[in-house]
Amino acid sequence: MREPLISVRDLRVQFHTYAGVVNALNGVSFDLYPGEVFGLVGETGCGKSVTGLALLQLIPPPGEIVGGQILYCGQDLRTLPPAQMRSLRGGKIAMVFQDPAAALNPVFTVGEQMEMVIRQHRRVSRRDARRQAAEMLRAVGMPDPLRILNAYPHELSGGMQQRVMIAIALSSGAEVLVADEPTTALDVTIQAQILDLLVSLKKERGIAILLITHNLGVVAETCDRVGVLYAGSVMEMGPTTAIFREMKHPYTQGLLAAIPHAERRGRFLSAIPGSVPSGLQIPPGCPFHPRCAFAWDECRNEIPSLLPVDEGHWVACHLYGRGRR
């Protein structure tokens, strides 16, 4: 059995706002193995970005991790001293954000920003750092690395900026890459380029990628395993083919049935009634029960636990609870 690189166990995150306590994550658990792309999908506000930020201990106040563990190489990142966490963050565990234009500093050239990150993590001369930066840019498929090093972010297109972000993230030998909606701000033809790049990085360097996205098409094409998140809880988790072919949870079924599609032309789409609950008022029991067509009393009162239904395929739904499948 492979050893997971990162194990998240029962992660709980709350945001303390004037309106009350927002429960962003309510006990999320998953493993991330080396050389795989694990997708986290879900709708707005389901907690997928918060999960990514929690991995890097970057939850902004008034948010707070209130429970659970994030294990990396047997260490709980929550109890790691800040100095050690700083060397991991951007070193072994790196992140790529949705909007590269906002993530890059507009007043420094790409080369300066890359050198800064490299020299933060390794004791190398500026010249060596620059050489490494150029190599990294070539590795992410930049045609003319030396010119790009001297360019400011605004001189690059969105796709190029995102490649620079990935190059920066990987420049210190990252083992884990958290990619939060890395292609959402890009056009489809550019999105295809970036997704190809991520998959090749996984294959060639054996990096583990946590791909956070709302786009089920992106998940189907790039992920090895998927976790479906709803209102801060994992509803279903398993190999990508199992999730798309033998989805068990009514929410996953509803989500997939709602995608417009050639074969659904001329017919109405099966929409999920209602909308996503706010983190301020998560329904008791199963968080999906108010929108679920199969809900009964148990669903309203008891939170379903994530139970296996097949090899590596887990579902949190009373329909598949003890002895019912």
């Binding site: 489809v188 033809t189 999105q191 089920l216 098409g217 417009p260 599609h261 050639a262 909308s275």
Partner: protein, 320 residues
């Protein structure tokens, strides 16, 4: 069948810069677009950012003035109408915008928002006006109890329903839907697409559906126009575009759209480079620098949109 709306050589250039220090720059947002829209159909417009799809939608209903060209609405040239007549005609074409958080005034409640077009264009007042607003709200799936609430109290999907009610208030015949579901989650997007479909059947509406999402456009459209750098490069029925795309750009666009099916392995055409800037479009066919099938002629001559059979139009030198 007679077209409801016809665009001829529609062109829009935006001027940038100018003044003492800067050279004047021209953004060629829309170049020489010919398009017919038939009553009762949904014409989808797809393309990447900056391809001119929003500009096309706005020029067609004269929300912005085209630089050149003509638009005929039921045979009448919209661009020649004086203000008063144009105002009369505006009742017949409406628009729904992408982001309902921005398109609805946060200081107006639902009643004010939906009655605004009715107050501006009709004599309805008092009881009759309130009744019409309630009727519209119920039609889009909201209730009387929502009348006195403000936009911040609603979710994105509900706001888009309000925007649709506003657009339908004057019984238009033609509605421009500019990325109406792009700001919404999939489960809510399905609700709005269903609503738009129902309304179309019930009220006999004609839609121009602008989107960057091919699966949405494929689902909702009867015919589809594919745009690249301000031009239509391919135009045909949804069937023709999706099963028999002839333009290399359309083929690449289709193959780069991720499908929600992990076993659908297909050869992906990865286009090199980025979309060129409309400030400085390449000569000849504007797609040739990224095209995987470019011929020498593509760099010099601009291909014209020609009919390759059954009203399937393609602008490509490879297709004859």
């Amino acid at each position: 069948m007679n077209a409801l709306l016809q665009a001829r050589q529609l062109t829009k250039h935006f001027s940038l810069g100018g003044g003492w220090w800067h050279r004047r720059l021209t953004v060629r947002a829309l170049e020489w677009v010919d398009l017919d829209i038939y009553p009762g159909e949904t014409l989808g417009v797809v393309g990447e950012s900056g391809c001119g799809k929003t500009t096309l939608g706005r020029c067609l209903i004269r929300l912005i003035e085209p630089t050149f060209g003509e638009v005929f609405f039921r045979g009448e040239n919209l661009l020649k109408l004086d203000r008063a007549t144009l105002r009369q005609r505006r009742r017949e074409f409406q628009m729904v915008f992408q982001n309902p958080y921005l398109s609805l005034d946060p200081r107006m409640n639902v009643l004010d928002l939906v009655e605004e077009p009715l107050r501006a264009h009709t004599d309805l007042r008092g009881r009759a006006l309130a009744d019409r607003v309630t009727e519209l709200l119920e039609r889009v799936g909201l209730a009387r109890e929502h009348l006195y609430r403000y936009p911040h109290e609603f979710s994105g999907g509900q706001l888009q329903r309000i925007a649709i009610a506003r657009a339908l208030a004057l019984n238009p015949v033609f509605v421009v839907l500019d990325e109406p579901t792009s700001a919404l989650d999939v489960s809510v997007q399905a609700q709005i697409l269903n609503l738009l479909k129902e309304l179309q059947v019930e009220l006999g509406l004609t839609y121009l559906f602008i989107s960057h999402d091919l699966s949405v456009v494929q689902y909702i459209s009867d015919r589809i126009a594919v745009m690249y750098l301000g031009r239509i490069v391919e135009l045909g029925t949804a069937e023709q575009i999706f099963s028999n795309a002839r333009h290399p750009y359309t083929q690449a666009l289709l193959s780069s759209t991720p499908l929600p099916d992990p076993q659908a392995r297909r050869s992906r055409i990865i286009l090199p480079g980025d979309v060129p800037s409309p400030l400085n479009p390449p000569p000849g066919c504007s797609f040739h620098p990224r095209c995987f099938q470019a011929l020498p002629v593509c760099a010099t001559d601009e291909p014209r949109l020609i009919d390759v059979g059954d009203n399937h139009f393609v602008a490509c030198h490879r297709v004859r």
